[in-house]
């Protein structure tokens, strides 16, 4: 039982969170982080002693989807996260003060907790035209990001936009949008791609830090392996239908109603890495494939350009019109070759005949 006043566990108990619910949360986190036996106990021990870390949440060129994801957290609910587990000093969507008072909260945190606070960044950072396409309090996003992230303990880039520019960076990227990794150099950064990212992975990352004092292991793109290490295709509950050859061919057909594989409807599960099938969304309610819609590959790099069209497995051959799928193009090429060879054969025969007539 946490004796130190102000420890996370202490605050949770004061708010009426039972020991049982607390241990449930620790078990959930241990499972999400894929920790070995004893992980839940380790997390519980850490949270009983840890002081509330400070977190600020920056929003740039965003749709607030990751904030919405954050608001869907359960075990603990976001109210508990905001007030008890973390000290969230700045979040434009939910904080009470506005204008200069809001900016003061941020500035105070950066000054007084320099090097000790965590930053979550949501949304892309525009670089074109001096960064004028996103300002807060009259300051360009790029300047805010450099100052706040530069003085932080660590930055968590949540969502596709904060990772690689996301939708604002989709062709033709009118505002020169980039993700945090390309806008701010030399910081401790962890990326949680997804559109939006699943709050379970954010909570897992923060809890990992609280328990072990370090950020989780990441892959070559800076994504935590516990969340982005497995291919959706390999964990999908419809995989047996894929291997068997049972595919939905049209929306609402017999296969769709039976829950068959959505491969033919453009599902990008085979090329996407995220824990959606395991963790699911909205307190484990469902995820796109379970609901009958193919994965759109939203955790993949530049997915708005690489994973579209969402309803086709492959993009079209560029420059040959809307219906020029690779198959049509290739079959056309082979047919043109065959036709050319037939013409060549006829021409040979004609030449032979004419040279015979000339009495050669």
């Amino acid at each position: 039982m946490g004796e130190a006043s102000g420890s996370i566990y202490d605050s949770l108990r004061k708010k009426g969170v039972s020991r049982r619910d607390f241990m449930k949360f620790c078990s959930l986190m241990a499972a999400t982080l894929a920790l070995p036996v004893g992980g839940a106990a380790k997390i519980a021990e850490a949270l009983e002693k840890a002081q509330k870390p400070t977190l600020v949440w920056l929003e740039f060129q965003d749709c607030a989807g990751n904030t919405e994801s954050f608001l869907r957290a359960s075990d603990p609910t976001v109210a508990q996260i905001v007030l008890d587990l973390l000290s969230v000093n700045y979040h434009e969507t939910i904080m009470a003060p506005a204008g200069k008072q809001a900016e003061k909260s941020l500035a105070d945190t950066v000054k007084n907790q320099k090097g000790k606070y965590l930053v979550v960044v949501e949304g892309a950072i525009p670089l074109k035209d001096g960064g004028v396409y996103c300002t807060v309090g009259g300051r360009a996003a790029i300047d805010i990001a450099r100052e706040v992230c530069g003085n932080a303990l660590a930055t968590i880039a949540m969502g596709a936009c904060a990772w690689d520019g996301g939708i604002p960076a989709a062709a033709p990227n009118p505002t020169g949008a980039v993700g945090v990794k390309d806008a701010v150099k030399g910081i401790t950064l962890i990326n949680l791609p997804g559109c939006p990212a699943n709050v379970v992975n954010l909570t897992g990352t923060v809890v990992h830090y609280l328990t072990f004092g370090s950020l989780p292991l990441t892959d070559s793109m800076g994504r935590p392996l516990f969340a982005y290490g497995r291919r959706i295709h390999d964990d999908c509950e419809r995989r047996a239908h894929y291997d068997a050859g049972r595919y939905v061919r049209e929306w609402g057909d017999e296969g769709h109603r039976k829950g068959w594989c959505l491969y033919q409807m453009g599902c990008k599960g085979p090329e996407t890495f995220k824990n959606c099938p395991a963790q699911r969304w909205n307190q484990g309610t469902s995820w796109p494939v379970e609901a009958g819609h193919g994965c759109i590959g939203c955790a993949s790099p530049h997915f708005w350009d690489t994973m579209t069209p969402f309803y086709k497995r492959l993009e079209n051959v560029p420059g040959f019109g809307v219906e020029a799928t690779a198959d049509k193009f290739g079959a056309g090429l082979a047919a043109a070759t065959a036709a050319g060879l037939i013409v060549h054969r006829i021409a040979r025969a004609a030449k032979k005949k004419s040279s015979e007539e000339e009495g050669k």
Binding site: A244, R246, L314, A326, F329, G330, A331, L333, L341
Partner: protein
């Protein structure tokens, strides 16, 4: 006018072996590949494993193609002069001359057939292009198969490609290059049948038994 012809061993066993194995392998890879890209068989029973089998055959055929490529590359250094790596690139002036001669004949510009003991230069370049296409299919295929499969073997076979191209681009080109291979195959068969009667040296039989009947006056 009769010409003195001598029965000569041109295509050694590894050349013919790889040729015919590739023929079957390309058919298997194409059919299974077309299915994997767009499943055209509808399931017939609860126990079907169609995609599973198609991928298995595709993978086995892919490994076989890799083996054939390795054997042929080795033989390009260990084999006779007709199998040597030099016949595939127009390195000498004589080869470049033959390239022009052969092309002119195919396009009806010249009436002089490119009599070759081994490959014409056109054939050499075409087969080199085909070799490059095979390499791309092998690397891209393994990149798709082992996307994020840990292990050095997978990294060497194709994993490295994913750091140069995004996965959907790899998939797209893997799909399209199959059709480029078909184009080369179609032209190859056409020319082989045609030149067999033009050259009169047992060209079609030679890819089975290895022997041509050459005059000694061929350019190579």
């Amino acid at each position: 006018m009769t010409t003195e012809r001598k029965r000569t061993y041109i295509w050694e066993f590894p050349v013919r072996l790889t040729h015919w194995v590739n023929f079957f392998v390309i058919i298997f890879l194409s059919v299974t590949g077309l299915y994997i890209g767009g499943p055209f068989i509808h399931p017939t029973s609860d126990q079907s494993f169609t995609m599973g089998w198609m991928r298995f055959i595709h993978l086995v055929a892919g490994y076989t193609l890799l083996m054939m490529v390795i054997i042929r590359v080795y033989w390009a250094f260990a084999g006779n002069k007709y199998a040597n790596w030099r016949v595939f690139l127009p390195l000498t002036g004589r080869q470049r001359h033959d390239l022009g001669d052969a092309t002119k004949y195919y396009l009806f510009v010249s009436k002089k057939p490119p009599y070759a003991a081994g490959h014409t230069m056109c054939a050499g370049i075409a087969y080199f292009a085909l070799f490059l296409l095979f390499l791309f299919q092998i690397f891209s295929g393994f990149a798709l198969f082992s996307y994020n499969s840990p292990g050095l073997v997978h990294e060497i076979l194709g994993g490295w490609l994913t750091s140069l191209m995004n996965i959907q681009a790899i998939r797209f080109w893997h799909h399209l290059v199959m059709y480029f291979i078909w184009v080369i195959a179609l032209v190859h068969v056409y020319l082989a049948v045609w030149l067999d009667s033009v050259e009169g040296n047992g060209l079609m039989g030679s890819i089975f038994g290895g022997y041509k009947f050459i005059t000694g006056k061929e350019w190579e």
